[in-house]
């Protein structure tokens, strides 16, 4: 306010005229309490004398400013102004608020302005001067041109013309090339000169030859030629102004770009660009197709890589600690491993559920690619189960689905139940070799030795263990069958001897014969039937049985004098024993079939689910070497 007054003082304007009203206004505003209108006033009246406990604010609508009455309508005038960017001082008029007070004017002009209207004030509108820009251009002197910039292809005049046009069009080379009319200009000049000469007469016709542009080029300059010339001059001038060693990085890179311009390469590039643009529809479509294909492949590759990376990071072995105890501790408490286990377990269950048990072939057909392309199925199933069983499915890590192939590759197996603590794979093998009795253990060992299975199996993977287990089970059965056979043979021998003794006394040959033959046959059959069905394991035994049969047959005529009753008893005996045999065989058969089925599934899925092995996840490796060893074990 004070400054305002000072200004007025300086300008010699009356001071007291404007100032009092503002003071009045101020006092009014400060002194008078604001009167509340409408309902709010009545509400305020309810408070009585005391001020309200909470400050009450009138809620204002923020989205529409209230029209403020700021007195009578402001006047607008067409204000003349000049633009400082114009050299000629053109006066144009634009609409401006009429200034309420006289604008500040210079002391000297005061007298002149006194009698004129305030509208005569000429504004200087500098708002748009910032748009008045010119480009930086290199410039050269005559000496410089003569010393460094001469070119046989370019005359001095044309060079100057080029620089002028570059400046005019601010380095827009496409426009410069479009507007470059040096040749046309020269032609016109020549025509004018000729016309002038015609007018002057033929006296100075030699003057034409003396003109500076004695060898006019009719060829149009190409854009590359112009650029090459301009850049060449720019580079040379730059080097002249700043020696190369003194240039800073920016300057040097600019200098390098300028001096390395290659018009031929540029022309070739443009030709290629043109060719690219002028391709026909088929070529474009082919390119499009290939590009989409490439994109698809790239995306798949990236996704696969990302998945692999994730899996790798997840399966990263826990850090090895110095003490084994601590190392084990860290291993068991590795949250990542546990989470992975939980998740895989969950997923496995859900898979089983969704594919309804008979999933072996279906799972086989699933490849890694399929998993990538159609992940929605299994994941949705997962989600469902995880929602059904919230406690058993902690969602710490995203559910990760692995194809059977991947499971096999990363040797991930699932178990129903795991025993606490750790076991070695070789322990399992060792345990299987031992039976209840020492004799049995020795028998098993000898049988395994017979089969060529070594005492210590080199790579005791879970798969090998499974196969070995089956083998041991079969060996056990074999031993059982042998035992039975020996017992039967002993009985046979006793009976045949008894028969021979009876044949010597009584003469009932026919019956005994028949019964003996019957017995022999029956026995043979009884031995035969199961053995024929079972696999090669029983081959040796089969041979034995046949051999025995033979002996039985040989014995028959000799033992023809056996007692009827005894024969009957023997028959009965056998009838008693046979069901057992058959049962055992049937069991063995069933077991065999089971074992084989499991064998297959185990080989395919590398999961040990059936044998009730511990509730344990072993993340052991399955090398390829396990396959032959398994085969060997089978043999």
């Amino acid at each position: 306010m004070a400054s305002n007054r000072d200004v007025r003082d300086m300008l010699g304007l009356p001071v007291g005229e404007v100032a009092p009203p503002t003071a009045n206004k101020k006092s009014k505003k400060g002194g008078g309490t604001k009167r509340i209108q409408g309902v709010a006033r009545e509400v305020a009246a309810l408070y009585g004398e005391r001020p309200p406990p909470v400050a009450v604010y009138e809620e204002k609508k923020t989205y529409r400013a209230k029209r403020q009455s700021t007195g009578p309508a402001k006047k607008w005038i067409q204000q003349p102004f000049t633009n400082p960017a114009r050299p000629d001082g053109l006066v144009l008029k634009h609409w401006r608020r009429k200034p309420t007070t006289a604008p500040p004017v210079q002391e000297g002009e005061d007298a002149a302005m006194q009698d004129s209207e305030p509208t005569d004030y000429l504004e200087s509108c500098a708002d748009y001067v910032k748009y008045n820009i010119t480009v930086d251009m290199p410039d050269f002197t005559d000496e410089e041109y003569d010393a460094h910039l001469r070119n046989n292809d370019w005359s001095r005049e044309e060079t100057v013309y080029l620089f002028g046009i570059v400046k005019d069009y601010s380095y827009r080379w496409a426009v410069i090339w479009d507007r470059y009319e040096w040749q046309a200009l020269k032609r016109r000049e020549r025509a004018l000169a000729e016309a002038a000469q015609q007018g002057n007469g033929d006296t100075d016709s030699n003057a034409l030859a003396a003109l500076p542009f004695a060898t006019p080029r009719d060829k149009e300059r190409s854009l590359e030629e112009m650029k090459a010339r301009f850049y060449d001059i720019s580079a040379k001038l730059m080097k002249l102004r700043i020696p190369e060693v003194q240039m800073d990085a920016d300057q040097y890179s600019l200098y390098e770009t300028l001096s390395k311009f290659d018009p031929v390469m540029e022309r070739n590039r443009k030709m290629l660009a043109t060719a690219l643009m002028n391709r026909n529809m088929d070529e474009v479509k082919e390119e499009e197709f290939l590009l989409t294909e490439l994109q698809r492949i790239n995306m798949a590759a990236v996704r696969l890589d990302a998945e692999r990376e994730e899996l790798r990071s997840r399966l990263d072995a826990p850090q090895a600690n110095t003490s084994t105890a601590a190392g084990l501790q860290s291993f068991t408490s590795s949250t990542a491993l546990q989470a992975l286990f939980q998740q895989l377990f969950q997923q496995d269950r859900s898979k089983k559920r969704s594919s309804g048990g008979s999933n072996a072939p279906g799972r086989l057909s699933l490849s890694a690619n399929d998993m990538i392309n159609t992940p929605s199925n299994s994941t949705s199933a997962n989600r469902r189960t995880s929602m059904a069983l919230p406690p058993s499915a902690p969602s710490q890590t995203p559910v990760k689905t692995l194809s059977p192939h991947q499971e096999h590759r990363f040797a991930v197996s699932t178990h129903d139940r795991l025993t606490s603590g750790i076991t070695f794979g070789s322990d399992k093998l060792l345990k299987m070799r031992q039976a209840k009795s020492n004799v049995q253990t020795q028998k098993i060992a000898s049988a395994l030795q017979e089969l060529g299975v070594p005492e210590i199996i080199p790579i005791p993977t879970s798969k090998v263990a499974d196969v070995f287990e089956q083998l041991v089970a079969k060996v056990g059965r074999l031993l059982d069958v042998r035992k039975v056979k020996e017992k039967e043979m002993g009985e046979c021998r006793v009976l045949s001897r008894m028969k021979a003794a009876r044949d010597g006394t009584a003469g009932v040959k026919q019956e005994g014969d028949a019964s003996g033959e019957n017995n022999g046959k029956k026995q043979g059959e009884g031995q035969d039937t199961p053995m024929g069905d079972s696999n090669e394991d029983g081959a040796g035994e089969d041979d034995d049985a046949e051999g025995e049969d033979d002996t039985g047959a040989q014995n028959t005529p000799a033992n023809a004098d056996r007692d009827d009753a005894e024969a009957d008893g023997g028959d009965e005996d056998r009838a008693e024993s046979r069901p057992q045999d058959v049962d055992a065989d049937a069991d063995a058969d069933a077991d065999d079939v089971d074992a084989e089925g499991e064998d297959e599934s185990a080989a395919q899925t590398s999961r040990a689910t059936s044998q009730g092995a511990g509730h344990k996840r072993s993340a052991s490796e399955l090398s390829d070497g396990s396959q032959p060893s398994e085969k060997r074990a089978r043999k």
């Binding site: 400013a65 067409q78 634009h94 443009k270 660009a273 474009v284």
Partner: protein, 465 residues
């Protein structure tokens, strides 16, 4: 606080607008547009045709040129090459278009305007005073003037423009800009290819950073008038011939069946209007026909290719009724009349109208224009193809144009920019001029009277490029 929304005006400086009440004049073959810069439509749109009954008096404006008066010749000041030919008429018509709606005739000083002069004064002093009167009556001393010109305008014609503006009208500042650039500005583009299909000419103008690439400017006479001529020929060759009776001849009409001869009573005139008047009136009927019936074959393929003609025939036709009541449904011929714009071999020909050149068709023009542009800029330009001009309002015009351009340049991203509203399409150049002349940054580009007096008319070549 006011939150700005779509209806609040932008603050000054936000769009660099600083209006100086400049006038924008956009003369075309069919109409001449004029208005104040900063507005969104030209306030004054008057026909470029004018009436001339005897050698001196001109009649301007819709009302004057469409009233059937005897001995009235309807003319146009444009030459056949798309450059103003009759400068006198052009000057007067432009002046009319500006003063009739925008500035009004300037009231002179009553002491000097000649009305209050003593008729007995001698001739010499009268002449002196008339000089003063003329100086006072220059119509546009307040407003700078921006005039548009076709891209192929000659240097001489350009100088004539500034002479008229400075000498005859006394404008304080002047600028000349090409229609192509302004149409691009109207679409918010500084670079692009502008396809302008007007009445007399179709032009294709490559523009880079607001500057026309002169070598690439293409023009051809295949435009609105060509389509009219094709329609006339269709009418003439139809059997029975389709009568083309303009409105002014019909007194009353009665409804007739489709294809049946008209049953109308006609007006008689004591002095029959001239042939040129009738031609112009017929043109109005044809304009209506173009607006309501004519359709461009949208592709794929040309109209004459394969079974396209059969497909067009099976499509439902469109009815049209002449001013005298004759009416019919037009089937495939409504595609045929516009096909010549894209396919010269499909144009209807006669002795008076020979087959148009292949280079005149719009696809070929675009191709030629692109060919004359530096290879690096071609994709940029093809991504901004601005379509303007009244004849581009033909039904399905843009579909066909899009198809044709994509057929020529399948490997670039071609984009047509065609304003949806009729006004913006017809007056794009004027709107661009309105934007340009209302910019604060444009103040320093005007050619001022002082500069003109210093350098002469040739300054226009130097400044308006």
């Amino acid at each position: 606080m006011n939150i700005p929304n779509s209806s609040t005006a932008p603050t000054a400086g936000e769009y660099a607008g600083d209006e100086v009440s400049a006038i924008v004049l956009d003369p075309g073959y069919s109409t001449t547009r004029a208005g104040f810069a900063g507005e969104d439509v030209p306030k004054s749109v008057c026909p470029s045709f004018y009436g001339q009954s005897d050698s001196d008096s001109y009649l301007f404006g819709e009302n004057a040129i469409h009233s059937p008066v005897g001995n009235l010749n309807t003319k146009n000041y444009w030459g056949s090459d798309g450059i103003v030919e009759d400068w006198d008429a052009a000057t007067k018509l432009w002046e009319y278009s500006i003063t009739s709606r925008l500035t009004g005739a300037r009231a002179g000083d009553p002491a000097k305007n000649g009305l209050n002069d003593d008729p007995r004064a001698n001739g010499e002093s009268m002449d002196v005073e008339m000089e003063g009167v003329e100086n006072n009556e220059k119509p546009m001393e307040d407003s700078p003037l921006l005039v548009t010109e076709p891209g192929w305008n000659s240097a001489k014609a350009r100088e004539k423009y500034i002479e008229i503006a400075m000498e005859d009208w006394g404008v304080p500042a002047f600028f000349l800009q090409k229609t192509g650039v302004l149409a691009a500005f109207a679409s918010g583009k500084a670079s692009g290819i502008i396809i302008d299909v007007g009445a007399s000419h179709t032009s294709v103008t490559p523009v880079l950073d607001g500057m026309v690439l002169r070598k690439g400017v293409q023009k051809s006479p295949l435009a609105g008038n060509f389509v009219s001529q094709q329609i006339r020929q269709t009418f003439k060759t139809a059997s029975p011939e389709i009568p083309l009776t303009p409105h002014y001849l019909v007194k009353s009409k009665t409804q007739v069946d489709a294809g049946a001869p008209a049953n109308a009573t006609y007006k008689t005139f004591p002095v029959a209007p001239s042939a040129s008047f009738r031609l112009n009136e017929e043109e109005r009927v044809l304009t209506e026909f173009k607006e309501s019936v004519v359709e461009v074959w949208p592709g794929p393929g040309r109209f004459t290719n394969g079974t396209n003609e059969e497909i067009a025939k099976s499509a439902p036709g469109r009815p049209f009724e002449m001013p005298d009541g004759w009416n019919n449904i037009f089937g495939s011929e409504r595609f045929r009349v516009a096909e010549g714009l894209f396919d010269a071999s499909a144009a209807l020909t006669s002795e008076a109208n020979p087959r148009p050149k292949d280079e005149w068709t719009i696809p070929r023009l675009v191709q030629a224009a692109v060919q004359h542009v530096d290879a690096d800029q071609r994709p940029l330009l093809l991504a901004n193809i601005v379509v303007t001009g009244g004849s581009t309002l033909l039904h399905k015009f843009n579909d066909r144009l899009n198809f044709e351009i994509n057929a020529i340049y399948p490997s670039t991203r071609n984009k047509l920019i065609a304003p949806g509203s009729v006004v913006e399409r017809k007056y794009a150049a004027w709107i661009g001029g309105s934007i340009l002349a209302s910019l604060g940054s444009f103040h320093q580009l005007w050619i001022s009277r002082k500069e003109y007096e210093e350098h002469g008319a040739s300054i226009v070549e130097k400044r308006c490029r």
